[in-house]
Subunit: 337 residues, 2 copies
Amino acid sequence: MIKIGVDAMGGDYAPKEQVEGAMLAIKNMPDIEINLYGDPEKIAQYLHNPERINVIETNFVIDMGEKNPIKAIKEHPDSSMAMALSSLRKAENDAVVSSGATQALIAGAHILVRRMPGFKRTAIAPVIPSLSGKPTILLDCGANLEIRPEHMLQQAYFAVVYAKEVLGREYPSVGLINIGTEDGKGRELDKEVFQLFKASDLFSFYGNVEPKSVLDPPCDILISDGFTANIVMKTMEGTASGMGKLLKQKLTSSLMSKIGALFARKALKDLKRSMSPEEIGGALIYGLYRPVIKAQGASKAYGFYNAIRQAATIVRNEVFTKVEHYLEATRQAEADE
Amino acid sequence: MIKIGVDAMGGDYAPKEQVEGAMLAIKNMPDIEINLYGDPEKIAQYLHNPERINVIETNFVIDMGEKNPIKAIKEHPDSSMAMALSSLRKAENDAVVSSGATQALIAGAHILVRRMPGFKRTAIAPVIPSLSGKPTILLDCGANLEIRPEHMLQQAYFAVVYAKEVLGREYPSVGLINIGTEDGKGRELDKEVFQLFKASDLFSFYGNVEPKSVLDPPCDILISDGFTANIVMKTMEGTASGMGKLLKQKLTSSLMSKIGALFARKALKDLKRSMSPEEIGGALIYGLYRPVIKAQGASKAYGFYNAIRQAATIVRNEVFTKVEHYLEATRQAEADE
């Protein structure tokens, strides 16, 4: 049995959507069981079928707007998030899903789960929609403002294993986010990463990719440092939601357009769903001891179901073990030199 | 009379759209005259009304895909782009508009127009659409990969003058593009810029702005270094065009949606126009001796008209003179210290 811990109290619609997502996951995956961390009374309101679902009582919820995440995690080991994270080192779960405050989750993961041996810089890697229907991995959207090319090589390798084992890509290729497609473009970091990736035989390196093609990239993985990829992700979010609002504005501006919107309702819903993070799951934190998945704060049951499914696939297909083997081999090779 | 030089041969639809844009500009602005740089025979095909329009013969066109822009500009002083740019130092024009190859235009502007005295790093500043209908200035989308906070202060001041004089904002405010809204977010550069802008009384500083609100920002101007702002611009382009394609896909997927699209045709056209750079004009290069505006390569007549109108407004409202006065005062203050 694969055991997934779910922080049932973090996120905008807790615990209703978490509990419903967990029940949906249990229904669809016979090889998992779920530990829900949260308030048993509140959880009981929504838990209609407790088959393979345990509830672990927790007494605190870390606020979504928490200003001092490190302090919050340290002072509240009894919070749903901290208890879920702590379960990983104790082997009580194989993976954890939370839609709680991002910074607290990252801080908590570093303190309570800690890194995979040899993995230098963790990364946050959401999976973003693409026109082809085959989503793209975008990293690092998270924490590392200062990073070295060797760290990005580890992160890219992790993404490649993930793309193979979870997204089912046979030969995943990596593109470097840059301001131009030609060799030699970008900052010093970009030039160094380019050379390192080009020289490596760990994976197929596509070269530089401009974010003009962010929804239709020529590769499976888009990588940059933790500042730039975060800016890309937030610009995508801003543009997509802005255009959505503008479309709504325009479609309600006249009787004709309202009629049009009515006829095209299904198509417009499809568009919204194509751009929705719920379809894809959460963002995995790369390089921890065990998988921690950040689901969107606004996730509904279907979003949690997808994040839990993603966690189960990561465990089932031994993504972490495969990366560990690579790191072990690297250490061995370095020791032999 | 305000004299505008137009590179009639650069861009995807030259010289037709340039010439038609010029005639439209002449028709709407009684105080301008236009010098068209290009092939007189080709221009004559479209120039139905030569009132206040002169044609200056040029014998070469710099290719849109030019790989070595500096070499191209230096070896072809007889090109439409080089001739137009050279006219500024000779006071034959007050401003130049070109939709030729971006890198060649930037290189050419640096070689043939040169910088405004005291302005340290030129910037490229497109004006991007916003939900409110009041466009936002985004900079630096151009050339400077390595930049110092003082340089960004000059660029921000330029943007503020531009926002006042060209966009008609009474109290333009500046936001720093960042990965979080809290003080102290971002890289070393961002933290230094934040402190410098906060301490300055040159303009109203809003603070950090996440690109989640890129289409609906709480300020008139969004600034970052030349790598980051370029990434923001290209991600916006990629997301907008990707969503446009997806919308089209969905709207042609069934008979119902096709009927809907028919009824909503005007609304959908409006949406496309709202997101179009043509509505707004071109990107001004900040910090040159005289204004050079880069119109989109794919600009049509209306796009050129808007870029020419933008150039005329810059000249009419003495944007460059105002920035020069500030730089002069800064130099004076530094000398007095």
